[in-house]
């Protein structure tokens, strides 16, 4: 099992979510994060006084998937999150040792 963490643009969330469901994933978790990378924060101007917003709002998607699905999920995200402009985001793959469904106590791939 792997955890796939993707940092994406907010406006792309719905599209990606739909595509992932089509691709067969059964669950995912998202959270609001802020980031910077190539895309730096922007400057906001209030009454002419400039405030540097250091970070850009992003969405972090977390998905734990069986090894067999990793490739497909990555491809789906790559395709749907793409706009071609800086700030499109990143995908990280992290090993997961165990997964358990609280409701049924199932473990491993059955749990996710």
């Amino acid at each position: 099992m792997k955890k796939i963490e993707a940092i994406i643009k907010q406006v792309k969330l719905e599209e990606i979510k739909d595509a992932l469901v089509m691709a067969g994933i059964q669950g995912m978790t998202i959270s609001e994060v802020q980031g910077f990378g190539r895309q730096k924060g922007h400057v906001e101007v209030y009454r002419g006084s400039e405030v540097e917003a250091l970070f850009v709002p992003k969405i972090k998607i977390e998905l734990v998937v069986p090894d067999s699905l990793v490739e497909k999920v990555v491809q789906t995200i790559l395709e749907k999150a793409y706009t071609g402009t800086v700030g499109d985001g990143k995908i990280f793959i992290i090993p997961v040792e165990e997964a358990i469904r609280i409701r049924t106590k199932e473990k491993g791939e059955k749990a996710i």
Partner: protein, 436 residues
């Protein structure tokens, strides 16, 4: 050159002294031989008093609170609240008496009406109960002190602010109010100030600037409004309440009140548009904060003029207030580099001065026979206006500085750096605004 100018000014002073063109006494004279309570005038002044109170609590408190950083919202709001409460007590205790009872050498009133002593339930001021006149004036004192807080937020200790409020109200507001409205020397000069452009806005604006300089810059000296919807509510309440501020200054329910009302609405709307379009041209986006700021600038600028000018004057005042205030808070502030956190000087000070001077230009005797401006053949009026503004500026700047220095003798005025970073809500009050 300079000397000649001063001489000229002194001439006017002497001349005007004789004219005794005092607005307030005239109003009294109007009543004829037998002053009688008028229920309509009284009703309008009752509601006007409520409206002006509403401007501070919660109007101004929200306007300022919404502009503060998330960690300083409650402290910013509390400063307006506590200022108004303190003034409410002290005004009744001695403020009204020292401002409006008698006159000692044109400088200050006397102690005859301490704790409203001798004001009976049927004492009149013109056609309204005197106790109501006292109440109405109280609300003006309250908002003036609260206004200043906008420049000091995010760094001043709450206890220091409380002491400042007491001293500033006593040593600055009361005398200036006496000079202009209580029969003091400025009222005898012939300066036109319908609803308090000089006493309230120039006064507060200068105190804001001087205090901001003494306090020094915040560590993060930029504007990061935590909640613009509060600013929207605040600006709406300010606009609403200002009808009582300017309309009520007619101290009667009549055509003059109506004209002041309409002028207020007009100048304010025009200033909002002026700020918005100026900003649109210069920074490419018309912000809602710009519209709200323009609203306040317009309201401030029309304050001294509301009961003197016609709609044409109001429109010009609106345009200049909106656009010039925009430049003052953007270009000027960043050049001069003082940290007037919420632009009290930039908006109230600047628009207040603009309004005071333009009143001398546009005052139309067909609106109010007591005021005749440059455009109607009385160029002196402009100079009188400038003089009144200058006197206020000098006195306020000086006294505000002294007050700060005195407080500093006894306590620290600024919070510690760590408290500033953590936020004043938590360090001064132990609260946070939102538990979402």
């Amino acid at each position: 050159m300079k000397k000649k100018f001063m001489e000229q000014i002194l001439n006017f002073l002497a001349f005007s002294w004789m004219m005794v063109l005092v607005y307030s006494t005239d109003v009294l004279a109007d009543q004829g031989s037998q002053p009688k309570l008028d229920t309509g005038d009284t009703a309008w002044m009752l509601i006007s008093s409520a409206l002006v109170m509403f401007m501070t609590i919660p109007g101004l408190a929200l306007f300022y609170g919404g502009l503060a950083k998330k960690k300083d919202v409650l402290n910013t709001i509390a400063m307006s609240f506590v200022a108004y409460c303190i003034v409410s007590l002290l005004w009744v205790a001695y403020g009204y008496s020292l401002s409006f009872s008698g006159d000692i050498k044109g400088m200050i009133g006397n102690f005859d009406k301490i704790l409203l002593k001798d004001i009976r339930i049927d004492s009149l001021q013109g056609t309204i109960p005197e106790v109501l006149f006292c109440m109405y004036q109280l609300t003006f004192a309250g908002i003036t002190v609260a206004l200043i807080s906008g420049a000091y937020i995010e760094r001043i200790k709450f206890s220091a602010w409380i002491i400042f409020s007491v001293l500033w109200m006593s040593l600055v507001y009361i005398p200036v109010a006496h000079w202009v409205w209580g029969g003091g020397f400025l009222s005898k000069l012939g300066a036109l100030d319908f609803a308090g452009g000089t006493v309230v806005h120039v006064n507060a604006g200068i105190a804001a600037l001087v205090g901001a300089l003494i306090l020094g810059k915040r560590k993060k000296n930029y504007l990061l409004p935590n909640n613009l919807t509060l600013v929207v509510i605040g600006s709406g309440i300010l606009w609403f309440g200002w009808f009582g501020f300017n309309g009520g200054s007619a101290v009667a329910s009549n055509g003059l009140a109506a004209q002041a009302f309409l002028n207020t609405n007009l100048a304010c709307a025009v200033a909002a548009l002026a700020w918005m379009f100026t900003e649109w041209m210069i920074t490419k986006k018309p912000t809602l904060l710009g519209i709200a700021s323009g609203i306040v600038a317009g309201l401030v600028a029309i304050t001294p003029a509301a009961g003197f000018v016609n709609v044409f004057g109001s429109i010009i005042i609106g345009i200049l207030a909106g656009s010039l205030s925009f430049f003052s808070v953007t270009a000027m502030k960043s050049k001069l580099g003082y940290d007037d956190a919420l632009d009290v000087f930039g908006i109230h000070g600047v628009a207040g001065i603009i309004g005071a001077i333009l009143t001398g230009v546009f005052a139309d005797p067909s609106i109010n026979e007591l005021g005749k401006g440059l455009l109607y053949g009385n160029p002196n009026q402009v100079l009188i206006q400038i003089l009144a503004v200058l006197i206020t500026i000098v006195y306020t700047a000086l006294m505000t500085g002294i007050i700060f220095l005195v407080i500093r003798l006894f306590m620290k005025i600024r919070v510690s750096d760590e408290e500033e970073t953590t936020g004043l809500d938590s360090t001064q009050h132990g609260e946070k605004a939102y538990n979402f």
